[in-house]
Amino acid sequence: MIEQRISPPKTRIDVTVDGSTVSVPEGSTLLDACNAAGADVPTLCYLETLTPINSCRACVVEVEGSRTLVPACSRVAEPGMDVQSDSDRVQRARKSVYELLASAVDLSLAEPETVRQMERYDVDPERFGEGWHRTDEVKIQDDLYIRDYDKCIMCFRCVAACGPDAQNTFAIDTAGRGLNSTIATEFDVSLPESACVYCGNCVAVCPTGALMFKTEYDLRTSDDWRPDDQHVATTVCSFCGVGCNLELHVQDNRIVKVTSPMDHSVTEGHLCIKGRFGWGYVQPEPD
């Protein structure tokens, strides 16, 4: 009489990646299949906790019979698909994608993985010639985080985290169209005037440093951000009974940043204003 919803074991399907066959559960993406096959497929806009939006096109792969390349992060694998994860055509497209991005925005604080992929594809940001480049003032409107859209690659992760995939606050969205589109509040009002509730989940998912905690920004500005001197301790937030894991990033016995593990079922990396920023009471500001 015990009723439980136990999903039946998923059927597995076979996909060929770079000549070898891998078996993945039905519903897996080509990215899952490539990972299962040990292929090194780069991603930029993709994050496992967010709905894929297919914007960066760094993860494109070649699928037999498909006219164009397809994004591995969101394309659902079908039985018998024949995938080339790093063919000449794929390499050419990826190199251009990174070069186009690097030619238009500041990637100096991009995630190490992005730097590695750019080296892998021998990216030359000058190749497409001098032209349009983002020029935005750093927006510092409060004490919690800053926005530097010079570094924004329009991956839309922040919009997804602020909106439907986690926070459901919708304080920011894409405004404008084409190259002039940007991530903005309504009429670009300042964050404190907007619907923003300062969960910082947008900052946590930003891959390029366009969104940055003020603590980190201040330390970087004073040339005192030292990742090698930091350690991370995982604990549980003290502010309510939900049990959110906090990763406290500590430098010189001071908390400099708070994140949450993406692979934890309680938070999936997301926090609220108290967990993210409310730690000040254990370390009064230095005089």
Binding site: Q141, D143, C240, L248, I255, V266, H270, C272, K274, V282
Partner: protein, 538 residues
């Protein structure tokens, strides 16, 4: 309630349930990450009801919001129960097989017609009917609540009245169906797990049970009192009678957190000896004879916490505590040594392993497993056990392995503090998104959305009072008065005002609240105060 005290479900279940009732909870502000899971459920198609005197930020996401009068929860629950029974929507097989006392219960709610429910709660009968029918006919349903249910003089009855609804419909003990109280502090659940209750030993083992108590006496080599102790509210009454003359307070700030704070402070000051162990020199610590500076548990020491889904998780020390502050555990060990007990200086993990040996529900939760698996949900009796997603599956076993779950006939009683011509407004209290309790912790960062101590008024009331947004008003209750800035706010209704509890230095709301408390749980009635509001002439 149904044995061990804990939420019956896991957060993941609310993501795939068919119906969500959020009752007396502004989870979007008070438990934001739980609300993330809830919204996944809504986006996956779950219908949502919110029951709250205010149309809160959480209630805005509900398909239907029921704006009840403060303190009429039992009336609403009984009306829903009566409607489910009258409409023939009960889960008869579940009631017959898994519960007891149905007939008596059905008779007790017979008077709660939809019309009577509307009269007492203020909610239109049609909306009550809709909630009753949708809850009863949903395949799975999660009934979630927080302090809007428990901060009342009849808190336990409130909870029992909700449990009745789950028993009528079989919405408990199955994946996707359950009763979900969301805890207000990070380890209030863990405190209960550890026996920080007047009548319990760790693992919800009863102090009056000789076998349970005997295990602990054998391990500790001391006699454990067989009588239940007092809860906080009883302790203050005992102080008033002179039965308590000394007190050792660890990590609480009753001078500001207890209702009727003037009386609380008088009683603390009247003690012969007061020790306060805290990370701050709180208002309470300022009254103490001895203050023991403590490390902040979540950042400056190792330990565990148990969440609202019964998930035990390890907390690791990130920072060295400042100055002479010490880990709570070390302070207790040093005190024990001074008192002649040779505990040594055990680590948090060593204490935990002793706990595991004595509390069967924690048996399988080694630190190694807790860290590798991102926590485990109790009960978890041995190291091969994956933890328990939801409780009370036994209700669906045949034959039933335990005594059936009892219905509880619950009488509705209005709030203790009645509205009158002199005190015509209902003031209720709660949390804001960026604040926490008395503000000791949440006052330590620069929140761009901080409101400070303000009172939220319905624009209609504000207009009647001639109060503009930002004016100072005097709020007077039968116990005292405060002056506070008024703010016009959506989500209220005429006659209802709201204050947060986080800025006692600006606006000490607990000057106004009363100390009527629930005899069963010891929780005070913070949620229902009768007040008068007047503009302050400048």
């Amino acid at each position: 309630m149904l044995g061990a005290g804990g939420g019956t479900s896991s957060y993941e279940e609310i993501e795939s349930t068919d119906l969500i009732v959020l009752w007396g909870s502004n989870a979007r502000n008070a438990h934001p990450i739980f609300f993330h899971h809830l919204m996944k459920g809504v986006r996956n198609g779950a219908k949502m009801f919110a029951v709250d005197p205010r149309r809160t930020e959480s209630a805005r996401w509900a398909d239907v919001w029921l704006g009840i009068d403060v303190g009429s929860d039992i009336a609403l629950a009984n009306t829903i129960a009566r409607e489910i029974i009258a409409a023939g929507l009960t889960n008869d097989e579940f009631i017959r097989h898994s519960t007891s006392g149905f007939d008596e219960f059905a008779a007790s709610v017979e008077e709660w017609t939809l019309e009577r429910g509307e009269e007492v709660t203020g909610v239109p009968a049609e909306a009550i009917r809709q909630l009753a029918h949708d809850y009863a006919t949903a395949e799975t349903a999660q009934l979630c609540w927080t302090l809007g249910i428990t901060e009342h003089h009849n808190a336990t009855d409130n909870v029992l009245s909700l449990i009745n609804l789950a028993l009528l419909t079989g919405h408990v003990g199955r994946y996707g169906s359950g009763l979900v109280p969301i805890r207000g502090q990070n380890n209030v659940q863990g405190g209960g797990d550890m026996g920080a209750l007047p009548n319990k030993l760790p693992g919800f083992q009863d102090v009056t049970n000789d076998e349970h108590r005997g295990k602990f006496e054998a391990q500790w080599g001391v006699d454990v009192p067989a009588e239940p102790g007092w809860h906080v509210t009883q302790m203050f009454d005992a102080m008033e009678r002179g039965d308590i003359r000394a007190m050792y307070i660890i990590g609480e700030n009753p001078a500001q957190s207890e209702a009727d704070s003037r009386r609380t402070i008088d009683l603390l000051e009247g003690l012969d000896f007061l020790v306060v162990q805290d990370i701050f020199l709180t208002k309470t610590a300022a009254l103490a004879d001895v203050v023991l500076p403590a490390a902040a548990g979540w950042a400056e020491s190792d330990g565990t916490a148990t969440s609202s889904e019964r998930r035990v998780q390890v907390m690791r020390k990130a920072l060295d505590p400042p100055g002479e502050a010490k880990d709570d555990l070390d302070i207790l060990s040093l005190l024990a040594a001074e008192m002649g007990h040779g505990w040594g200086m055990p680590t948090a993990e060593e204490v935990w392993d002793e706990l595991r040996s004595l509390s069967p529900m924690h048996g399988g939760m080694s630190y190694r497993r807790l860290e590798e698996l991102g926590g485990l949900q109790w009960p978890c009796p041995d190291e091969d056990h994956p933890g328990t997603l939801f409780l009370h599956g036994w209700l669906w076993e045949d034959p039933l392995p335990r005594e059936p779950a009892p219905f509880s006939s619950v009488e509705w009683a209005p709030p203790i503090d009645p509205l009158s011509d002199e005190y015509p407004m209902r003031l209720t209290t709660g949390r804001r998104l960026d604040g926490y309790n008395t503000g000791v912790q949440s006052g330590g960062y620069r929140s761009p959305i901080a409101t400070g101590g303000v009172i939220d008024l319905d624009p209609v009331d504000a207009a009647d009072l001639g109060v503009s947004d930002g004016d100072v008003v005097r709020v007077t209750s039968r116990r005292g008065h405060i002056d506070v800035v008024a703010r016009h706010r959506d989500g209220l209704r005429p006659g209802l005002a709201f204050m947060a509890i986080h800025w006692p230095d600006d606006a000490d709301v607990n000057t106004l609240t009363l100390d009527a408390w629930d005899p069963k749980s010891g929780t005070a009635e913070f949620k229902a105060t009768a007040v008068r509001i007047e503009p302050v002439q400048r």
